[in-house]
Amino acid sequence: MKPHRLTFAFQLTVTLLACAFLMVPAGASILAGFTVNYFRGVSSGLTLKWIGEVLALYSDTIALSIAIALGTLGVTLLIGVPAAWALARRPSRLTRLVEEVVTLPVAIPGLALALALILAYGGIREFRMSPLFILTGHVLYTLPFMLRAVMAVLAAVDVRTLEEGAASLGASPLQRFFHVVVPNARGGILAGALMVVTLSIGEFNLTWMLHTPLTKTLPVGLADSYASMRLEIASAYTLVFFVMIVPLLVALQLFGRTVQGAAR
């Protein structure tokens, strides 16, 4: 159906306004990160000084965020991939219930999860003060995404038939898992991994409650800089975050498309 001319003009206007609403502040932030004085505008000159200051002030938060994201990825792979196979193998009411409980942390605000973790384990000082406390929160929040991604692919490629074939050739369950299940679930594992890392690097709701002065992640540092630093430094710091997160997002979108295409 060809849209009416007026409808077309209206839709086009709304689309362009929405795009401007999303992109203009992001552009302003990138520009401000390179501007000598944002209040006076670009005419005050361009500089890399703010980026340098951010790296000097906050590089420890960047390193910690990367370390926690990789740690979270490791744990979600270790726990999530085998469990996804076990759950997808024979869907029943019980496996549905397990899936439901495991995915609950996504439906509950991070603030509530963090409070519960602090009330339960805040008294154990070594744990509370270590980055492992944040890592635990991140695993809790990202594990459902890994599980779902892997389970979706396992359901799509009919891995059970492949497994039966391997079993009839004498492969043990463990051999089948590593040589049949994992290779066939590759797409889901990769999509889940990208999702886990992206979410972990940007996580704030849980992390703000779980962090200590010695365990600050990038988003925690960002909140700090928004509250206490000049706009140019806050912008340069945001730019560093963009540089880390945007490639992950692009990979996720490209990859998500091929995984969905393969599943169809």
Partner: protein, 272 residues
């Protein structure tokens, strides 16, 4: 398959242990702490009985409803436009519109400050036009803008997929039977994407209810549930109230998501 069953059980064990230790047990503790304050078990209902908390709850619900309505309205128009038109630069436009998917709430708060804060773009624009100074970032309006910013890309991804799946022949048939464009929109197109509207609306609503980063960046003076929980816990050390309010908040977001998922599920089943 006997040994495979044993392996499956072994593989589920780490998941069970992790969820039991770091989710179920902390949740039990949260419920326990909420009921052990000076008000005893009455604290569970503090969100309804304490006038200040009730007002905050109502304000948060109103804000979330407004965010959901605005995001769905904008999202539907944009999704219809992008799915029905092919033009140069369309892939770029789609990429730009979905790029903010990965921005956390704190960063979205900063975007709102750059747009409508004291040194913001709207501030200098309105000053330049001699229309006074527009600064609304640090208020409920700023939070509204922030949550729309946060949810719009997510809603768009879901709605665009739903519109692409709609069979254009249905709309053409309705037109050829004499339905007006408005009727086609009301009776064919919108019902067709209703499951996607429900699902993405629920996520936008639950996010606006529970999100914390954007409110934290914009100001601590905005009375929304997440800020109240944070202040009660960290500044007032009022653990029982903070725990009781988080339980209420968690129940609301979980219920909204569970209910609409069931609706959306049956909608999809009925369509298929």
């Amino acid at each position: 398959m006997h040994s495979a069953d044993r392996l499956a059980r072994l593989f589920l064990l780490p998941l069970f242990l992790f969820v039991a230790a770091f989710f179920l047990l902390p949740m039990v503790r949260l419920v326990g702490v909420a009921g052990s304050g000076p008000n005893g078990l009455a604290e569970y209902l503090a969100i309804l009985t304490n006038p200040r908390h009730l007002a905050t709850l109502l304000a948060t619900l109103a804000l979330s409803a407004a965010v959901t309505a605005a995001t769905l309205a904008i999202g539907t128009v944009v999704a219809l436009f992008l799915a029905r038109n092919r033009f140069v630069g369309r892939p770029l436009l789609v990429s730009l519109l979905t790029l903010p998917l990965a921005f956390p709430g704190v960063v979205v708060g900063f975007m709102v400050i750059l747009l409508a804060g004291r040194q913001g773009l709207l501030s200098s624009l309105s000053m330049g036009l001699g229309m006074g100074r527009w600064v609304f970032a640090y208020s409920m309006a700023g939070l509204f803008a922030g949550y729309v910013y946060f949810s719009l890309p997510r809603v768009l991804v879901t709605l665009m997929a739903a519109v692409e799946k709609l069979d254009p022949a249905l709309e053409e048939a309705a037109r050829s039977l004499g339905a007006s464009r408005a009727q086609v929109m009301r009776d064919v197109t919108l019902p067709g994407i209703a499951p996607a509207l429900m699902a993405s609306g629920a996520i936008a609503f639950a996010t606006a209810m529970g999100a914390f980063g954007t409110a934290f960046t914009l100001a601590t003076r905005i009375d929304v549930l997440a800020m109240t929980i944070y202040t009660e816990f960290t500044l007032n050390a009022n653990f029982a109230t903070a725990a009781a309010l988080s339980i209420a908040l968690g129940l609301i977001t979980w219920m909204v998501l569970a209910l609409t998922r069931n609706f959306a599920g049956s909608g999809v089943a009925a369509a298929g």
